[in-house]
């Protein structure tokens, strides 16, 4: 990075933060602080909902997923459009007509205060953990890009984001997310165009897709019924449906985004905007990873993408080992490149037998490359960054080594913007749920709006500091994007069931659903520890178990009279 990159980076970041704070400097009452005055248009809501879900993990880790496993991860989002339709039909009108600040207030009105606190509590635990992930994940990558210390990167981005969320509240989050999303989209499109431009000139689009398909990178739909398979059409449609329904329907960080809508119609349009665009957007990012894979078929990649960890081990022995791995890796890579050229030549001649043979040869060479890489990682990777999946560094390495100055600054600004926008929405939601569902409900009941706005600011600050502390002490899981989804899947099913029981099982009362939820959550913990199945299924299990338990318990408790 040079001075021009830093200028682009700092200018765009500070500009957006100051814009958000300036525009919302007069916010005094709780409604506009938490719900943004109901003035936000459908487009702004749509972008805000999308930005809240898309953290830096999405833009850094997802191209790495595409590089390693192709576009198969896109199936994770198959349940999302249907879930958003149900949210907009069933959940949204009720939240709006009851005029709630948080989703859990609805549980309090439908059941009792205890169930409301349970819902809010599960949200706070789950989202509080995820807030640490969303700041830690890009932290390790940004620190290697900027060559800053990891703790400083986390503290810098964490504080910047906490301060403008505290200052502006929900409206500031929506306002700034629009601009951050514009920077991110622009930067990703530029990166996409540049990867395309850097592919060999003689490689046609059809040749490129042939190689990608032959190497198993274009398997976007799998109808396998193996429950252990992580991403299939069925797990994506069913598990993804429950995950998305819970996330968009009951997670305060999302509910708060679409409650800022000027009308029910605006909020719905914002959700439908996401229902249409989410799958193409994820495909685009994964396909960027496939293009990176193609680029590195013709240009040798580093043995290990995580260069900071690769260079950590010092001494003559380590240097000699690195040189040895570099040499072996380059030899196998050259062999694979020759195979690919022969494969394409056979294809152009129409020689099917030779094409199949050369393709098998290229696949074998790819396996050999992976083996050398695995050996190198085992032998030489040490330090705090060593555990993180190497695929998370693929895109970062490409950006730093292949793109022109200015674009590097823009992309790093995009990564930081993505961290800030999803973090800001989470903090905002954590602060408001703590104030409305815990503080106002239990501690101070009848105070002025100024008092609650001040309390929300303090709780937002507190959660910001908790997330920074968690991120500073976290020992990172191996795969970032999966870690976030796994934590969500463990809690989301039960939280969703609380709302589904409230909406669709009118006979079930507060006592039954409260104990049903606790039993179902315990069951999910036990099954997670003992069963080896794709994690998306825990959303389904938690949800169905909670609904079933609630119904069963209701048979033994007297029906409750609702106000």
């Amino acid at each position: 990075m040079n001075w021009f990159d830093f200028l682009v980076l700092i200018g765009s970041m500070l500009g957006i933060a100051l814009y958000g704070v300036w525009h919302t400097r007069d916010t005094r009452d709780l409604t506009s602080y938490l719900k943004g005055d109901h003035t936000v248009s459908w487009f702004a809501i749509g972008v805000s909902v999308m930005a809240t879900q898309a953290s830096a993990v999405t833009f850094i880790s997802m191209p790495g997923q595409g590089y390693e496993s192709g576009i198969t991860f896109v199936q994770n989002y198959f349940g999302l459009p249907l879930a958003l339709i149900l949210v907009s039909v069933a959940f949204l009108p009720i939240y709006r007509s009851l005029g709630v600040y948080t989703a859990y207030e609805y549980l309090g009105r439908r059941f009792d205060a205890r169930t409301r606190r349970l819902g809010a509590g599960l949200f706070l635990i789950q989202r509080g953990l995820a807030a640490g992930f969303t700041i830690y994940a890009p932290g390790i990558i940004l620190s290697s890009m900027l060559a800053w210390r990891l703790d400083l990167t986390i503290v810098f981005s964490g504080l910047l984001c906490t301060l403008y969320t505290v200052a502006g509240g929900s409206r500031a989050v929506s306002l700034t997310q629009r601009h951050q999303m514009a920077i991110i989209s622009g930067a990703m499109c530029v990166a996409f165009a540049l990867v395309l431009a850097k592919l060999p000139r003689e490689l046609s689009l059809s040749d490129a897709l042939t190689i990608a398909g032959g190497m198993g990178k274009l398997d976007g739909v799998s109808f396998s019924v193996d429950p252990k398979a992580r991403y299939t059409f069925w797990s994506g449609l069913l598990g993804g449906f429950f995950l998305s329904l819970s996330y968009f329907g009951t997670d305060q960080s999302q509910v708060q985004r679409y409650l800022t809508g000027g009308s029910l119609r605006e909020s719905r349009m914002g959700l439908m905007f996401n229902a249409v665009l989410k799958i193409p957007m994820q495909f685009f990012i994964l396909f960027l990873g496939v293009l990176l894979f193609l680029f590195y078929q013709f240009q040798a990649p580093p043995v290990v993408f995580n260069q900071l960890a690769w260079r950590t081990l010092a001494g003559a022995d380590a240097d000699a080992a690195r040189t040895g791995f570099d040499r072996r890796f380059a030899e196998v890579h050259a062999k694979k490149r020759d195979r690919l050229a022969a494969w394409l030549a056979a294809r152009h001649r129409g020689d099917a037998a030779a094409e199949a043979a050369q393709r098998d040869g290229a696949l074998a060479a790819q396996k050999e490359l992976d083996a050398v890489r695995g050996e190198a990682r085992k032998a030489l990777l040490v330090g705090p960054n060593a555990k993180a999946s190497d695929s998370d560094y693929v895109f970062v390495t490409f950006v730093l080594s292949q793109l022109p100055h200015g674009v590097i600054g823009l992309l790093i600004a995009a990564f930081i913007a993505a961290t800030l926008q999803s973090k800001a929405a989470e903090l905002n939601a954590l602060g408001s749920a703590t104030t409305v569902d815990i503080y106002r409900d239990i501690v101070v009941r009848d105070a002025s709006d100024e008092h609650y706005v001040a309390a929300t600011r303090w709780f937002t600050l507190m959660w910001g500091l908790v997330a920074i502390a968690f991120a500073l002490s976290a020992n990172m899981a191996e795969n970032l994007i999966q870690a976030v989804n796994i934590v969500g899947s463990i809690f989301y099913g039960v939280v969703l069931a609380l709302f589904l029981v409230a909406l669709f099982l009118p006979r079930v009362g507060g006592t039954a659903v409260f104990w049903g939820a606790l039993a179902a959550q315990a069951l999910v913990f036990v099954l997670y520890a003992t069963l080896d199945i794709g994690y998306l299924w825990f959303n389904v299990i938690g949800c169905l178990a909670c609904m079933g338990f609630s119904l069963a318990i209701q048979l033994f408790v007297p029906p409750e009279v609702r106000a």
């Binding site: 576009i71 896109v74 198959f78 459009p81 249907l82 958003l84 339709i85 039909v89 069933a90 009108p93 009720i94 709006r96 007509s97 897709l209 042939t210 990608a212 398909g213 032959g214 274009l218 398997d219 976007g220 739909v221 059409f233 009308s263 029910l264 719905r268 349009m269 439908m272 229902a275 249409v276 799958i279 193409p280 495909f283 909406l503």
Partner: protein, 40 residues
């Protein structure tokens, strides 16, 4: 249901948008299948 005032049922003034969302989803899946089949 066309405004904030009523309860749960399927909103009568909105099915067009929901249908459009489902059509887009089906088209997405079909395109992914075509891509997979064209470049096995």
């Amino acid at each position: 249901m066309s405004d904030d005032s009523t309860g749960l049922p399927w909103p009568r003034t909105w099915p067009g948008v929901y249908r459009l969302v489902i059509v887009f989803f089906v088209v997405d899946v079909v395109l992914l299948l075509v891509l997979k089949a064209s470049y096995p």
